[in-house]
Structures are given as C-alpha cells and as structure tokens.
C-alpha cells in the first residue's frame, strides 16, 4: 500500500523538520511573567504594587540585618562602631554572639571539669589541679572566676560542643529515637531504642545516679511482665490487679495510711542497693537550672509524645457506650479545654503547693509538663473525635461483621483511617503546643523570652530588643516549619484513597 502511495504522490517528505523555537515572548521567563504577573492591566498594577511593597520592606530590613555588628561588648560599643562606619542603621548582633548559649540552654551548668581537662590543662595545673578547683570543699568564688576566664578564652563554639555535651547528646539521640516512629522504612529494631530513650534522656539531662532511671524502667517492666504472666494464668482482671499492686509497691507507699513508712516504696531501696554495688552517675542538675530553647524542646517533645496516646484514649472514651467512662472523658475534656492554659500553669506553679503536704519536693518542670500534656490531650481528643466521626458508619459495621472485638476493630480498622484524616489537625495542635511553651515565662521558668528580659537587665545590653526577638523567632520557626513539612509528607505517603 505504502509503495503505491509513494509513487502516486508528487512529493513525500522523508525527513521530519526539527521543531522550531517558539516565537520570542512565548517562552521562558517572559511567558511565565506575562501569564502569571501581567495577564491583564489590573493584575499588572497589582504586581507593580506588590513589588513596591516588597522593595520597601526589604530596603528597611536588609541594610539593618546585613550591616549588623557582630563584634562588640555592649550596646554602646555597637552604636559607636555603627557611627564610625557611617551607617544610619545596623543590627547589634553582638548580643547574640555573646549570649546565644544562654538563649539555647538557659543557666544549665556547663561541664567545666571536662573542658578544663581537655583544653585548659596548663591553667588548671597552675590553679592547683582538678581537686583544688572542682573538688569538694573548694572555694566557690574562685571556681566561678576560673570557669569565667576559661569560657572567655576557649570561646563559645568549644563550650557549646564540650560544655553542653549532655543536652546535645540527648537531642541527637532524640532524633535517633524518633526517626523509626516518623519514617517506617527504617529497621523496626530501632523501636527498642525509642523505648529506652526516655530513661536515657532523663539520666543525661538531670544526671544523678544512673540506677535511678534504670530502677524506674525495671519497675515498669516488672509490672508489665506480671500483667502478662498473671493475666495468662488467672485471667485479665486479676492480672490487672496484680499489676496495680506491683506499681503501688514499687513507686508509692500503700501503707502510708497506716502510718508505716520505710519499707515501701521499693524504688529507693532498689536504686540505692544498685548504687552501692556499682556507683556510676553524672553530676546532678536541678530543674531550676533548665532554661532557654532547651526548655521549650523538653516541654514540647514530652507534651507531644505523651498527649497523643492520652488524646486518642480520651476520644475513644468520649465515643464509648459505657456511661461512666463517657462522662468522665467528657468532663475532663470540657474542663481542661474550657480554661486558658495560663490558668493551668498558674495552678501548677502556685495552687498545687497549697494542696500538697508542706515541704513536698514536686519538681516545677514536671508539674508544667503534666499540665501542658493534659491541656494538649484535651484538644487532641476533639481532633481525633472529628476523625472518628468522619469515618463512614459502614467501616465500624464492617469491623463488627468480621467478628473483631472492640480493641481489634479500633486498632486494625477504625483508628488507622481516623488518624489519617486527623493528621493536619493533630500537627496543628502540636505546633500550637510547642509555641505555647513560651507561656511558662509567666510562672518564672526561664524560657527564651524570659531570658531576653534577663539579658536586657545587664548594663551592657539594656535597651536591645529586636535582635533578641528575631533570634528567638528564628529558632521557633525552624522547629514549627519542620513539623508542618513532616505532616505534609505523612499525608502524601498515606494518601491511599480519595486521590
């Protein structure tokens, strides 16, 4: 066929012409601009207006930012340097340069003995050696002077990596512990580390004997083992009771009502015994020394990790057909959610002391973490309930028709779908929680904003505002932006339907 056709036709093109370039103005940047920025006269006007806006803002901010002065000892020096360079406006970044460690870690003590041993050995020997400077009974004023000169000579970078190795290591391990939870293509064995991590982090951050956190972990593991063993042998109810009794004996004093103390709780005995056999630990640091961005991360991550399971349980409880459980959950959610967070924080910091026996040493940071967790879980419960309500009733019925019991139907059918729907809401709550951690400044914890106030109180930096706030804002932005990006990744990955 093709042959006859070829013979009968006057001309047959044998080679395909190369595609011609589109006419100028229909290609590349020009076309994109015309289509997106100048598609009509009103749009063109709006574009010009927006450009002018951006220009004015940048013209105000950029010279200030980029001409910033990094090397000065005080605001007055900053101003002198600025005038010397003939600038009209310049940021005084020197305050960040000097105080960034304080904004990150608050007054968390540095590991001065380690720094001295590694980088300052000669001066340490000159000052009389390790025991004379850091040993028990050494002169505190002399030690503070020694550490002060050492910090000034070593510079902030060395102090950051070696002086603060404990919080830094805790943060690095947090990433390792969280990774298998966030990304499911990592080996599942890493989850074991995620379970160990909370105890490890407490040990690293607060120090003390290593046997304290280990004993707590042992007590929890023992209770779970008893639940499993007794549950298999004597049935679920007795197993649960046995676990509660174990927990009580280990962590509390069940005989305190009878006025007997000393035997229970078992926890101090166990950790004390282990401590005498093999004493090992880090210098203890109290919660009062925690501060800065580290505080926001500690409160934020513990709140996030603890409030998610609690929120899910509350949401399920609110949907429960058992009236007692339902009303307990509804009351809890409504009471917690109906009162501002700042009120709960004041309750935690002030009112709680009136109810506890005098002299009780109930850590303020822990109180705050508990309050933030409860607050976030009430919000999460409502977010998750939204997800549960959005699920078609057929899904619940399908699970029932398969003969699954309540927990299995929730775990296998309902919750995976409901949680997937709720991801944006959940992450929204988390970001809100993370930023709400700055509210602790009102109860006297040294969060980054509180520290800006403290830094301003020194003679050198009194009167400096924007530089400190910009730095703190940047720190928060990085974390919140990561969370928001992760939630988008998760949504894309889980989008198995409704594409």
């Amino acid at each position: 066929m093709s042959e006859t056709h070829a013979h009968s036709a006057a001309f047959v093109r044998t080679a395909i012409l190369p595609p011609a370039a589109p006419p100028p103005g229909q290609t590349g940047v020009l076309r994109w601009m015309r289509e997106n920025l100048f598609s009509s006269i009103p749009n063109a006007l709006l574009t010009l207006l927006a450009l002018y806006f951006v220009y004015t803002i940048l013209a105000a901010i950029l010279p200030w930012t980029l001409n910033g002065i990094w090397d000065a000892g005080s605001l007055t020096e900053c101003r002198a340097i600025r005038d010397e360079r003939g600038l009209s406006t310049a940021a005084c970044w020197a305050v960040i340069n000097e105080r960034w460690l304080q904004l990150l870690f608050g007054f968390y003590p540095i590991d001065a003995p380690l720094l001295a041993r590694l980088f300052y050995a000669d001066e340490l020997a000159a000052a009389g050696g390790m025991d004379a400077v850091f040993g028990p009974g050494s002169n505190a004023t002399a030690r503070i002077e020694f550490v002060g000169t050492m910090r000034a000579e070593l510079g902030n970078a060395l102090v950051f990596f070696f002086g603060y190795w404990r919080p830094l290591l805790a943060l690095a391990l947090l990433v390792v512990a969280v990774a298998p939870v966030l990304y499911n293509n990592l080996p599942r064995g890493m989850l074991i580390f995620s379970l160990i991590y909370p105890f490890l982090a407490v040990f690293l951050l607060w120090g003390g004997s290593i046997w304290g956190p280990i004993s707590v972990a042992l007590g929890l593991a023992l209770s779970l083992y008893i639940l499993k063993y007794a549950g298999a042998r004597f049935g679920g109810l007795l197993g649960g009771l046995a676990m509660i009794v174990t927990l009580l004996c280990f962590f509390f004093n069940p005989l305190s009502l009878l006025g007997i103390s000393g035997l229970f709780p078992l926890l101090p005995h166990v950790s004390g015994l282990l401590g005498t056999i093999l004493p090992f630990g880090l210098p203890a640091i109290t919660s009062d020394d925690f501060g800065g961005f580290m505080l926001a991360i500690i409160i934020g991550t513990s709140g996030i990790v603890l409030s998610l399971p609690l929120g899910i349980v509350l949401a399920l409880g609110r949907q429960s057909s058992m009236p007692l459980i339902k009303w307990v959950c509804v009351t809890f959610i409504e009471v917690i959610r109906g009162v501002p967070l700042i009120v709960w924080l004041f309750t935690a910091s002030l009112l709680l002391n009136y109810f506890l026996p005098p002299g009780t040493n109930f850590d303020l940071l822990l109180r705050v973490i508990i309050m933030v967790t409860l607050f976030a879980s009430a919000y999460l419960a409502e977010v998750v309930r939204g997800g549960l309500a959005a699920l078609p009733k057929g899904q619940y019925e399908a699970a029932d028709s398969l003969g699954l019991d309540y927990w299995k139907s929730m775990r296998l059918i309902v919750l995976p779908q409901a949680l997937k729907i709720s991801i944006p809401g959940i992450v929204n709550t988390f970001i809100g929680l993370f930023k709400d951690t700055t509210l602790v400044v009102f109860i006297g914890l040294r969060d980054p904003l509180g520290l800006t106030n403290a830094i301003r109180a020194t003679g050198e930096w009194n009167g400096i505002y924007w530089e400190l706030y910009v730095f703190v804002a940047l720190l928060f932005f990085v974390f919140c932006f990561f969370m928001s990006r992760y939630s988008m990744y998760l949504e894309r990955k889980l989008a198995t339907d409704r594409r």
Partner: protein, 340 residues
Amino acid sequence: MKKSVFLGTLAVAGLAAGIASAQTTLEQVQARGTLLCGSNEGLAGFAAPDANGVWSGFDVSLCRAVATAVLGDPQAVEFVPLTSQTRFTALAAGEVDVLVRNSTWTFSRDTDLALDFVGVNYYDGQGFMVNTALGVSSATELDGATVCIQTGTTTELNLADFFRVNNISYEPVPVATNAEGQQQYLAGACDVYTTDVSGLAATRATFEDAASHVILPEIVSKEPLGPVVRHGDSEWGDIVRWTLNALIAAEEYGVTSANVRELAAAPTANPEINRLLGTEGELGAMIGLSNDWAVNVIAAVGNYGEVFEQNIGENTPVGLARGLNAQWTDGGLLYSPPFR
C-alpha cells in the same frame, strides 16, 4: 535528698513531708546547703545574669549576704526568678526562703498576705521622664500630656492621685512591661514615661541621646523596697533583718570589704565595731550563727555603700545618686539600730 525527677516526684511525696515541716527555715537552709532566694527575672542594676549565668546586682548582693551569714559562702544561693504576680505566693508556699525582688513595703502586704518585711534596702519613689524638647521643668506643668504607664501596678494609682490633687488632666497610654513602655516612649506614643525613679534612670541610661531626656524633680510616691520573709518564723526574719543592718552599720562605722579582716583581727577602740565583728560579745550566737558572721558578709559583698556603688551608683550605667539612701549622718534615711 535525691534530685532525680522520678525519685523526687514518685517517692518523696509521702516521705519528705513529715520531716521537712518540723524544721525551722534556718535548719532547712543549712540542711539544703543553699539559700533559695526569690529574685527578679531581670532588672537593670538590681538583678541580672552575666554571660556565664552568674547573677549580680543590688538585690542579688543582699541574697549573697544572707547566704554568707548562714552558710559562709556567697555563691551558695539559688536564684528563683519570680514575676510580680507569683512572688508573694511563691514565698508563702515555701518555694523560696527569702524574697528580695524590689517589692514595696505596704500595709496590706505586711499584714493581709501574712508576710514580714524585715527592712528597707532601697528607698524608691515614682517619678516622671520627659523629652527636653517639651520644655517642661516640673510635673505640675504636664497638663494634657499623654503618659505611658504600666497597668496593674501601684504606679497607676499614684499617677491618678497626683494629677487629681494638682487639678490637671492627662491621657494614659497603658503598657504591659517596662520594655514596652521604653519603646512606646521612644516612638513618641507618649510625652511622659512614669515608673520608679531607679527604673527611669536605668531606662534613660540606655537611650542613644540620654541628654535630651530629663527626669523631673517631683517624686509622687513612697516606695520602700525591702527583703520579705514568711510570717511565723521570727528567728529567720531576725537573721535577714540583721544581715541588712550589718551592711548599713558597716558603712556607718567605716568598715569595708578591704579593711574588715584587719579590723576583726583584734578588738578596736570602737566597741560598736567590735560587737558587729564579733570581737566583743556573743551577738552571733543569739541569732544562731557563728560569731564572725558579719565579718564574712562584709568581706564577701562589702558594706551597703560598696554594694550601692558597684551596682547602681553614679559610676554605673544606672547612675543613681544616694539621695534618700544615704546614711542618716549624711541626710539620708539609712539608720541601723545599734548592735548591742
């Protein structure tokens, strides 16, 4: 006591309660080894941390003095930052042993809140700051001015009283914090900024052109600032009161951190100094301290005048004159009862 969080919360709740409540504050502090001092979160000249996290300031020095008296170590203080809302509750609830946070001694605080003000370490008063361009030389000329004022403080009420008494009008611009007030005033949102004179001086010192702002001569309120302790433990109150008095008396008798060791080596001709420094009599034992407690205090922090000059005096950025805070012999109000 174990400081681990888990132990602290899970185990201690029942155990520690019975033991701690039976102790006096002095015993608690000595058993703990540190003094818990309620302090400001940061106030120029009065309490501020340096780059190493070491606190210094006028109020801080008094905390260090008490720590030296009780524990012999000026560094054995833990500073608990308290806001103006939480300070008295924290003291009443036992979270701090002593509160030195530029708190004004008033009737209701002393009685109704069940607290004890044990002295005055700084006599402050409310004043006004204006731009020299306004051409005002007295607060009575401020008719119709806009005034930046911190809400919810006694300064707000004092301001209203002052303008009513002088029969002039003003327009308040409410601000939440000193930092905000400073910004508003500089931005021209108000003609006048009013707060305690010490605060005004510290604020003015940070301005680029401090010379074009003046603090008007009128002082419109009495703000005696002092250390506070809980009701019910008078022995502890005595220790704080007489530590403050020792600082004031030391200045009066010319005892300084430089010469205190020398004066305490042997009894001097002045019996008052001898009793203060413990070379004569047994005053230390009467308040449960060692006999040379005042020597340690003065050697560690200096006398009242030294503390003042170091932190808020005329050679510091805050640059305050002694004024009311001079010794009674110099026309001020500082007057320590005799050490005998």
